[in-house]
């Protein structure tokens, strides 16, 4: 089959690779009909996530048709149309029983590496380095889905792929970010990053009842999408004024947002030249793994007693963490890889109810063979790119 593989820093290639096969009774094989490039794939592409190997198949956002099932998969039939959550979860361990699927205790065969990095093992993830299990990803014609009796959600109507594909990651992840903010109605939420996950965090904050949602980015076309499609009520373009904290305070009567969502993560850009230079040098010399400016500003901007929700991906260590502001303002820091399986069903229902059409983020639909150009276009924000969907 054809698959998009990692071939070194800033290089992916579409190659012929062996077809996947059932390895365990709880596996299924899915013929991929749509797959997407995620912002967190760019961390792999840019070489900031360790333990990638040449030939690793990328992709953790995919859906398709079941073509084969193991003996232990009773809930799926050949021919079923499914969306596959990016965390691989066994459904039986303590974490899964508490709906903490992204920290499943059984699905990561390389748990030892993750434990060294993070103190505890984390779940396996499709196509996301060997720290998360070294599983083949979904940017391919076929994918093996472990624990297929737990993860995939069956799509039982004729909604097009673009409307349900993002149940695999970015819609639940954005929703999770908003859910962590304890929105009860009337809050002001600031969202750092108007990429695909940021767009869904904004939309989810609106769905949950936030009064105002402020989108923050440096690309005007992304802010336009945030305002025109995702429901942002205000926006800050920090390429025009880099002092995000002051602007957020000005927009909220000096108090600051009730909660701030960091949908940026480890490759933050910002307008403060000297700080950015220090972060770039430290990251490129591997003396810190994460450029943490969005998180720093999120902590500084959030109102006292508020919540900072982190759904942007971080990989290891960052410096200049404003621990004084965090502690003295009494903030709550909440974070995580999304426990996707917890959210797929209720969000699927919201799509079916017409509350949201997730296909609004798709700006590029290409064939799988064009994945290398798709990665470059997405990474360099060319051609007003927000989200690339690949069709094998």
């Amino acid at each position: 089959m054809r698959a998009n593989v990692w071939s070194g820093r800033n290089t992916v290639q579409v190659e012929n690779v062996p077809d996947p096969r059932i390895l365990n009774d709880r596996d299924a094989i899915v013929k991929v009909t749509s797959t997407a490039i995620c912002g967190s794939d760019l961390h792999l592409y840019d070489g900031y996530i360790p333990t990638m190997k040449r030939g690793d198949i990328l992709g953790h956002e995919f859906m398709g048709e079941v073509v084969e099932t193991g003996k232990g998969v009773g809930n799926l039939q050949v021919g079923d149309r499914v969306v596959v959550p990016f965390p691989i979860a066994c459904g039986d361990c303590w974490s899964c029983r508490h709906e903490l699927y992204s920290v499943c205790e059984n699905s990561n065969p390389n748990a030892g590496i993750a434990e060294k990095m993070f103190g505890h093992p984390t779940a396996g993830i499709f196509g996301y380095s060997h720290i998360t299990g070294g599983y083949a990803g979904g940017q391919a014609e076929y994918a093996r889905v472990p624990y297929a009796d737990v993860g995939p959600i069956k799509i039982e109507d004729d909604l097009p792929d673009d409307q349900v594909l993002f149940l695999s990651d970015i819609f639940p992840t954005g929703y999770f970010g908003a859910d962590l903010c304890d929105i009860e109605g009337g809050e002001v939420i600031a969202v750092f990053g108007a990429g695909p996950v940021g767009q869904f965090a904004i939309a989810s904050a609106i769905l949950l009842g936030a009064e105002r949602v402020i989108a923050i980015d440096q690309y005007e076309y992304r802010l336009q999408m945030a305002r025109g499609k995702a429901g942002a009520t205000d926006s800050i373009n920090f390429s025009e004024n880099p002092d995000i904290v002051e602007q957020l305070k000005d927009m909220t009567g000096g108090r600051g947002p009730d909660a701030v969502i960091d949908a940026v993560g480890m490759e933050a850009a910002h307008g403060h030249g000297a700080l950015h230079a220090v972060d770039r040098v430290k990251q490129s010399t591997r003396s810190e793994s994460d450029r943490g400016h969005a998180l720093r500003d999120a902590i500084l901007a959030c109102r006292p007693g508020g919540i900072v929700s982190v759904i942007g991906v971080y990989g290891g260590l960052l410096d200049k963490f404003p621990s004084g502001a965090f502690m003295n303002k009494g903030l709550q820091l909440r974070a995580g890889q999304c426990h996707v399986q917890k959210y797929t069903r209720p969000l699927y229902e919201r799509i079916r109810d017409g509350q949201i059409d997730p296909s609004f983020v798709v700006t590029h639909r290409l064939g799988l063979d064009q994945a290398p150009d798709g990665y470059e276009t997405f990474k360099h924000k060319q051609d007003e790119c927000v989200k690339v969907v690949l069709t094998p």
Partner: protein, 156 residues
């Protein structure tokens, strides 16, 4: 990948500007064996000027965005050549090799860095954007700028 490859985008170029500028102003003259000499003063001045106009450049690491990026690159080239020429103009090259080799070495470093810097600032972009546009079945501009909101505010 374009040839010659130009992997240095404007941000990475800025990182080089500030780190090299700082090195020239601080320990590099002593490390090069010219501490306390006229050569050291010249190298330190070059570092200060370099870092100074970097802060005024219109690129991601500039503090006040007055100088266009391409003009900054031209200043880099002129500054490098001026630094290399200085020992020969002042005559200090007669004092020995260490009074002109650092200047010329820094000039060569700067010129090679410039040769690898993308003047558009896009750096290592190596996609075929025209092929993407031809193949794309979506219209990004219309998708972003036209049509109704994708989210309905629901009562909670």
């Amino acid at each position: 990948m374009p040839f010659p490859p130009r992997p240095i985008d404007s941000t990475l170029h800025g990182v080089t500007d500030y780190s090299v500028g700082a090195a020239l102003m601080t320990g590099l003259p002593k490390w090069a064996g010219v501490g306390g000499t006229e050569s050291a003063r010249q190298i330190r001045t070059a570092g200060a000027v370099h870092a100074g106009y970097s802060t005024l450049t219109d690129y991601p690491l500039g503090l006040v965005k007055l100088i266009p990026y391409k003009a900054h690159l031209a200043l880099d080239a002129l500054g490098a050549l001026a630094l290399a020429a200085t020992p020969f103009v002042t005559g200090q090259y007669k004092k020995g090799r260490r009074h002109w080799v650092p200047h010329v070495a820094l000039c060569l470093f700067e010129l090679s860095s410039l040769a690898m810097s993308d003047p558009t600032g896009k750096g290592d972009f190596h996609g075929d954007i025209e092929a993407v546009r031809r193949a794309n079945t979506e219209d990004p501009h219309r998708k972003i700028h036209e049509g109704p909101p994708a989210v309905t505010r629901v009562n909670v």
